[in-house]
């Protein structure tokens, strides 16, 4: 191995969204001098910035005006008055939202860390919307039984991301912007480093580190209609899986009820939190049928399913009947301009509809990946269902599965999870490094191996275009592994995916240049999509029940007896997934499983 090809750091963080940047910043803050962050796009382009509605935390700044019901106006809580919200309530909402698949110890930690994290954001300069007396303002959100979404208009993720990035710069974290990680090196359950390509020059280098942390985000790009960025191709899960780490609960993919019709861009849940209605072709507020109590503010899986039923039964809107109307006109111009300005811009730019004057066409859109790399509550990656660890390997945020979201995530809990567990991972990494962590040797020459792999891709003069394979995969995933699933569809989906994996061997990379070759990175991303999509479909086929976002028409009931457990997928010697199962941590006395009704 040539020495100039190797870069060494104490800590390497992959991904510069909230989780990764929090971990890097916290590690640096806690005395680790040499922290580097690799990101395939500039850190401020990370998809955390696209989150809109808010970040959940029990701050007790706001309460519903007495006697106005669950959708009435909110007011600030006067000093000295009793709080309306509590940790137990936040825990219960999250557990119920997760359909009891969330690990309750992790949920408790997240909920209790939440106020501290939000206050730390505020102290670091985050610009939150305010109550009359100057506290952080809060709004309602789906599945939450108290107003606890702390927000900054409808660009909460954006301001959080910029704030934490600034702090990381302040703490001298080193950023490698536009470095694409293409391999993770784990040997004997000890992490050794990563191989990355400097997109600008095309050079492939080995980066060694005592600790590697993944905060690479989700895998929503596997679906046709998605709110996710082009970048959200699940690189992190695929790399970890290929390197021998297990993946947990991959079959749980959240569909957001309000993606902009055809485009899939997110129309934040805050549209409904602020009081927006969902309307079908007949002009009915159809949520009356499905969640008479919470109506539009039921959890996302339930609302998405309800929309899909309306669409499937012919009550959808637009030419092809695939849409639903989101009606915000009654909120009034002033509230829309103050609270939902970005959403309004999106609707005008892409649907040519001004929400102040017309209802906005929307449809369910792939949104969040509940599954991912299994970790402890300190971000340490598990090696198996027994709880053994992979030394030096950490993960947090959407790429990980702690699991706090279980079978379905509640809105505003994602920014919270990324922040809380990113910070905890940062602290754990700092302790790990200060506790005398060593740089372990790298066997062989992984950089050279990857160079050869790239050269092979370039030399492979096949007939398949990457995009055609990706589009076919997206169709399969949307139609057969989407909101509703059944055995027949899932089997055929697995079949499709295997065929696509074969077709991928016959691809042709059009751009063979070294400099800024995004064609190459798109090809590698496509291979990642094919890797983890198989796990989603296979995991969904195995799980013979309906729970949260996983809805089997052939097994419509939740089955706690057989399926109150996490799916763990390992890569077998022959490259196929092998499944084992892990128990869910439950506080039986406090939050025993019950029927989930809204």
């Amino acid at each position: 191995m040539q020495n100039s090809d190797v870069i060494t750091h104490d800590v390497i963080v992959v991904g510069a969204g909230l989780a990764g940047t929090w971990a890097a910043m916290t590690a640096a803050e806690n005395g680790v001098k040499d922290v580097a962050v690799l990101s395939k796009i500039h850190p401020l382009r990370s998809h955390s910035g696209a989150a809109q509605g808010g970040i959940a935390a029990v701050l007790n700044n706001v309460r519903p005006v007495a006697g106005t019901g669950p959708r009435g106006p909110l007011e600030q809580i006067p000093p000295g008055d009793d709080p309306v919200d509590s940790f137990d309530l936040h825990m219960f909402d999250t557990i119920k939202g997760s359909d009891w698949l969330g690990d309750q110890d992790a949920i408790e930690i997240m909920v209790k860390d939440a106020p501290d994290v939000v206050i730390q954001y505020e102290h670091m300069g985050c610009v939150f919307s305010r109550t009359k007396d100057g506290r952080i303002n809060q709004r309602r959100f789906g599945g939450h039984s108290a107003p606890r979404a702390n927000f900054s208009a409808d660009r909460t993720g954006h301001v959080l991301l910029h704030t934490i990035h600034e702090q990381a710069l302040f703490h001298n974290v080193h950023f490698y912007a536009e470095w694409y990680v293409m391999d993770l090196i784990i040997e004997e359950n000890i992490v050794r480093g990563v191989v990355a390509i400097n997109v600008l020059t095309g050079d492939i280098k080995m980066l060694r580190a005592k600790a590697v942390m993944f905060g690479t985000g989700g895998y929503g790009q596997a679906y046709k209609v998605t709110s996710n960025a082009y970048a959200n191709t699940g690189d992190g899960v695929a790399l970890a899986y290929n390197a021998g780490a297990p993946l947990m609960d991959m079959e749980f993919v959240q569909f957001h009820p309000t993606g902009l019709y055809r485009h899939g861009f997110l129309m934040t849940e805050a549209c409904r939190g602020e009081g927006g209605y969902l309307i079908n072709k007949l002009g009915e507020r159809f949520m009356e049928k499905y969640a008479p109590d919470k109506m539009e503010l039921a959890p996302r899986d339930l609302v998405s399913r309800s929309e899909q039923i309306e669409i499937n039964e012919g009550r959808g809107v637009m030419e092809d009947g695939q849409g639903i109307f989101l009606d915000m006109r009654h909120l009034g111009r002033e509230k829309i301009l103050e609270r939902l300005p970005e959403v309004r811009d999106l609707a005008i730019a892409f649907a040519h509809v001004d929400p102040i004057e017309e209802p906005v066409p929307i449809q369910p859109t792939a949104h969040y990946s509940m599954g991912g790399i299994p970790t402890t509550v300190d971000g340490e990656v598990l090696a198996n269902a027994n709880g053994d660890l992979i030394t030096g390997f950490y993960a947090a945020g959407e790429v990980s599965c702690v699991s706090v979201h279980g079978a379905n995530r509640l809105g505003t809990n994602s920014l919270l999870e990324a922040s809380v567990f990113g910070r905890r991972a940062g602290r754990a990494i700092a302790e790990f490094i200060k506790g005398g962590a060593k740089l372990h040797p790298v066997p062989g020459d992984p950089a050279e191996k990857n160079r050869k792999m790239v050269q092979q891709l370039f030399d492979n003069d096949g007939s398949e275009l990457v995009e055609d394979i990706v589009q076919d995969l997206k169709m399969t995933m949307t139609n057969k592994v989407g909101i509703f699933r059944d055995e027949e569809g899932l089997k055929s989906a697995l079949d499709d995916i295997h065929k696509l994996q074969e077709r991928f061997k016959n691809i042709r990379v059009m751009d063979k240049s070294k400099r800024f070759n995004t064609n190459l990175s798109m090809t590698l991303e496509a291979s990642h999509l094919l890797t983890f999509s198989e796990l989603i479909a296979a995991g969904a086929l195995n799980r013979q029940e309906s729970r949260g976002a996983h809805s089997r028409t052939d097994f419509p009931k939740r089955d706690d007896e057989n399926w109150l457990k996490h799916t763990m997928a390992h890569k077998d010697e022959d490259g196929r997934p092998k499944f084992s199962y892990k128990d869910v941590t439950l506080y039986w006395d406090r939050f025993p499983p019950q029927e989930r009704k809204y």
């Binding site: 796009i41 500039h42 382009r45 910035g49 696209a50 610009v127 485009h263 999106l346 070294k514």
Partner: protein
């Protein structure tokens, strides 16, 4: 707009340049079949994935919040993902796309933003809070928050920076994006270093170098107004001491409720 009209084939004229092979940039035409609602970014994606994989540009979120895909479209800077192609092909059924002006080109539409980020770092974008950190949040009024709107909503896409004629001449100038960031911190009631920041922006390459050309306002895809922020900083820089005193006074009450 008839269905036929939105589904016609249009010409996308792209400025191509790979410094490793090309001596100078050249234009290349591609034919793309439109679909209703297609954006410039969708058209580029179609070209890259089906016609010519070497066409290179940055992109990520697809809906105007990440700031990756700022480029020069039909003579103005904007985000490719937020621009419907139908609005741009009125002349000769053609849309012309190039990289952001005034910046070194890495490849096709990908520009080198090094100077952009250096200037961003120069204004020390992070908050410098008071020593006395309360247990709960600092108190700020909604009016104080609203005053920061433009600076806080900025996505750092660089459209303003590369539309600025001064930047075209002189990369030492801080530029609208960095000044907007400085404005955010100077105006933020929680920041304790307004004097230091005003000192930075008062240097020869700071607010005085702005010649009120307004290209930044015209270029901003988020509809923000960096010129106004620069004008405000100019005024504050001229009465720095008074402003510092006012801010210190305000900071005595950061832990108290905003009086109604």
């Amino acid at each position: 707009m008839s269905n036929n009209d939105t589904q016609r084939t249009v010409t996308v004229r792209i400025q191509r340049f790979n410094p490793d092979v090309d001596k100078k940039p050249h234009m290349q035409d591609y034919q793309v079949k439109m679909w209703p609602g297609m954006t410039i970014l969708d058209a580029l994606h179609e070209i890259k994935t089906h016609q010519d994989g070497s066409v290179t540009y940055r992109r990520s979120c697809r809906h105007g919040i990440c700031g990756s895909c700022a480029m020069h479209i039909n003579g103005r800077n904007t985000l490719a993902c937020k621009t419907p192609i139908i609005n741009e092909v009125k002349k000769n059924n053609t849309v012309t796309i190039g990289p952001l002006p005034y910046l070194p080109v890495i490849k096709d539409m990908v520009v080198d933003r090094t100077s952009f980020w250096e200037q961003y770092l120069r204004v020390k974008p992070w908050l410098i809070p008071p020593d006395d950190i309360p247990e709960r949040e600092f108190r700020m009024s909604q009016e104080e928050v609203d005053a920061l709107h433009d600076a806080e909503a900025c996505i750092m896409c660089g459209a303003c920076y590369s539309s600025c004629a001064v930047i075209g001449l002189n990369k030492k100038y801080l530029g609208p994006h960095a000044l907007l960031k400085a404005f955010l911190r100077v105006l933020d009631p929680r920041d304790t270093a307004p004097g230091e920041r005003l000192e930075i922006v008062s240097q020869a390459d700071g607010v005085a170098r702005c010649h009120t050309i307004f290209n930044c306002i015209d270029a901003c895809p988020k509809g923000l107004n960096p010129t106004q922020a620069i004008e405000t900083l100019r005024k504050l820089a001229q009465k720095r001491q008074k402003y510092e005193e006012a801010k210190a006074e305000r900071q005595k009450h950061l832990n108290e409720p905003i009086p109604s």
